[in-house]
Symmetry: C2
Subunit: 477 residues, 2 copies
């Protein structure tokens, strides 16, 4: 019982210490375990199953837009990484270097991919010849390595799982259209599947991807008022194409450079789900990414007919991801365990329920109980799951709105940072010096220049010079 | 057109040069591309889509037996790799070593996983405490790296994709049962999905996995008479558990070591599919792993109504993986291209067919043509695909039977090797010296000691001493 007990130990409350609450949840909900390599974690079954649901649903959305999956090597020769100047400067300081193959030193060292632009470019340079070969809309699911100093499970780890799309197009317009299209796929996925509202916008030049002309982002607000960059989509223009010589013959038989994009989402999304929806009892999973959507808990399960009825209900609910907890733990313990694991619905069924021909359905997020006759259970469960998915989104949106503030001058800006949490909307002059000063003085960074611009005044919130853009500022993970 | 033409260039015939035929097919069917890192390849859309079909169907079979997916890090610290003596001796000479993280040398170098036994053991040592925690039946889909000297696409590459199952059990019996269960899953998958018959058996001690008590294998025969080890399942007993200290408290509160297994299948299976089913026109894919099962080819597609009818048929056939080739190439070229790519069925539809209310269905494997009225097309296509899947298995089985020979003494053995190809069944004394001598003298290795033993005589085929086991010998990839 010592081991069982551990699972439902009190976790630190969010108010007391949000960072500790997060660490407690990722381990006690059974999502990850630490390993002997710092910053590399084990994704345990409960954690990996969430990733599988993210992957399958995101992949289906990709394929609807014509994406094809491929797999490129995990190693990048040093000379290849160095071909695009900004890119190598951005990534070289944080890559893991392979220097030996077996007992022999390599002639040229290779890094483990931190991202695969250079590999795709090397491949496209051979694979693309004619306008007939365009567009190429390829994606891969893989792991990447970035040798970060500070690490946190899901949010920043040295190895993480992701997808990286890499496309090549005939024209600048086509590349820009694909960049925006994928950002919209990401935003829609976050809102519909993860029940997590996002702000769509463009990164400032300071914050853009190493080698990109433009980086677009979706930014979400966590429960503690910090922002999390949840997906990015980059337009490379023809910069990489020129560095790697990726040219095609157009219809007039002229050589042209391709225009490229890339876009990625990672296991970081699991961290976002935890921090947007979790509470002091543990994880709360949106039904669409819950590996188990319904847990049936038999009450007084040794009484005749209870386990049989539980099995019957499981069979009746097979349209959902359903399990029966028929372990020999007591019901109170089972309830706490399933709350910790964030299972959306609990169905309680005991001798009295069986007599009355009904079960008790309990929502994880609100703990609302509904008594449902067996005959209506299948339909009702579907309705409650849908309602829960929607309510979770609505609550997250309300939280973001409550925690989004407007600052028109520097006093207001610092006052908000001192007394409140969340996003700050403000006007910005567009100068990188000003952006850097804001970060140095407050720790807040430019999250994005949102697509939905508002006019909050004529002057920069920091320096007072004429404003160019409305920006979301915030402290971020 | 230069680029289009290249696709259907003549490929080397199998008879002339099987190895060159293989290389031609993997590249001209668009499965892979080479990269600047020797032995690391690009899995292009046509190749990766086969892997996706293998993965989804194998994963579903795993989950039916209670397997849960996880993800462990790609790096193994050197000290961890060294914990099990046989294992490190088997793998250390062929691993890739990471020595630097960013700009700094690592305190301890790490290898990129060549397989993950040591990582799973390290994890299980922490994760398993009580009999209640057993069994653990975990699997991961990932890539692994083995720094081989000789490489060939799919068959032997420095990085390849695979799944690796790693399980822990309370008893030796449970571990042995899981080892055999997974071998059976593999055999069934190869036969039902890949239309590839396999021999199930046990590896000799010489050929078993580094650190295993027993290795079981499925062996398939390629078109050229060489064997291919297609999947292995290992019983580790408690050897790794003792090296890593993986213990649990049993019901009597006593500490016991767990018993472990591991089992894996790789992208090598794609090489097997090519070499079992391919012909001189290119790839031939079994319908169950064909990314496109049906290609509709409009004939005289500029005539009114032809492309519309093709689109209509595509819609009618949406129960299958179906595409229309409406490119501006001529039909003969399209036919050749789809043959190269191994698409199981071609549906031709032109003005005369439309008038007659029918289409022509052509099988890739036999080139048999069937005229099918539009109204029957959906049902008939399903029947033909099923029949083709079965016929492909039957032909592969007949090929294996024709190419399986029996030798009762050394003269017969060498005579078969000289004049024929394929498997040789023979009795073996069980001595490793004899096994090594056979390999050195002929290049043939022990493929397995089949579960279905036959008594072919009383003496070893090589040394004439009393025989202990019937063995399949063969030259192998």
């Amino acid at each position: 019982m010592a081991k069982d007990k551990k699972l439902v130990e009190q976790i630190t409350s969010m108010e007391e210490d949000f960072a500790q609450w997060y660490t407690d949840v990722v381990t006690k909900a059974g999502l990850i375990d630490y390993t002997s390599v710092k910053g590399c974690m084990v994704l345990k079954p409960a954690g990996y199953a969430i990733w599988e649901l993210i992957q399958s649903q995101l992949d289906a959305r990709f394929k609807e837009t014509g994406v094809e999956n491929v797999y490129l090597p995990m190693f990048i020769p040093e000379s290849l990484l160095q071909k695009e100047k900004d890119h190598v400067e951005g990534f070289a300081p944080e890559v893991a270097w392979v220097t030996h193959g077996g007992l022999n030193p390599l002639q040229e060292r290779m890094c483990v991919r931190p991202t695969s632009e250079t590999l795709f470019c090397d491949f496209y340079a051979k694979d693309i010849q004619s306008y007939r070969d365009l567009p190429k809309v390829y994606n891969q699911w893989c792991s990447v390595v970035r040798w970060e100093k500070e690490t946190r499970p899901f949010l920043r780890s040295r190895e993480f799982l992701w997808q990286e799309g890499h496309t090549a197009h005939a024209t600048a317009e086509d590349a820009e259209a694909r960049t925006i299209q994928m950002l919209n796929v990401y935003a829609d996925f976050c809102e519909q599947v993860l029940a997590m509202p996002v702000i769509k916008g463009r990164k400032t030049d300071k914050e853009k991807f190493a080698g990109a002309e433009a980086t677009y982002t979706i930014e979400a607000l966590m429960h503690d008022g910090k922002a999390l960059q949840s997906g990015t989509s980059h337009n490379f223009g023809d910069g990489f194409a020129k560095a790697f010589g990726i040219q095609y013959t157009d219809k007039e038989n002229k050589l042209q450079y391709v225009h490229q994009t890339s876009w990625g989402m990672t296991t970081r999304l699991i961290g976002a789900v935890i921090m947007v929806h979790g509470d002091d009892s543990g994880l709360v999973l949106p039904p669409r990414v819950a590996p188990t959507q319904v847990m049936i808990v038999p009450i007084m399960q040794k009484k005749e007919g209870v386990l049989e009825k539980a099995a019957e209900l499981k069979d009746m609910l097979k349209a959902y991801r359903v399990k029966v907890d028929d372990s020999d733990k007591n019901p109170g313990f089972k309830f706490a365990e399933q709350e910790m694991r964030g299972i959306p619905l609990r169905v309680e069924v005991g001798p009295k329920d069986i007599e009355a021909g009904q079960a008790v359905v309990v929502r994880r997020d609100t703990r609302e109980k509904t008594i449902v006759p067996f005959a209506e259970l299948e339909v009702k469960i579907g309705e409650i799951l849908e309602q829960m998915q929607q309510d979770m989104f609505d609550r997250a949106l309300a939280h973001r709105e409550e925690n989004t503030h407007t600052a028109t001058n520097w006093d207001e800006f610092t006052d908000i940072l001192e007394k409140k949490q969340g996003f700050i909307k403000g006007m910005w002059c567009g100068d990188q010096e000003c952006e850097i000063a804001i970060k140095e003085e407050t720790g807040a960074t430019t999250r994005c220049m949102p697509f939905e611009q508002e006019n909050l005044g004529e002057t920069c919130v920091h320096c007072g010079k004429p404003a160019k853009k409305m920006v979301y500022f915030g402290k971020a993970y």
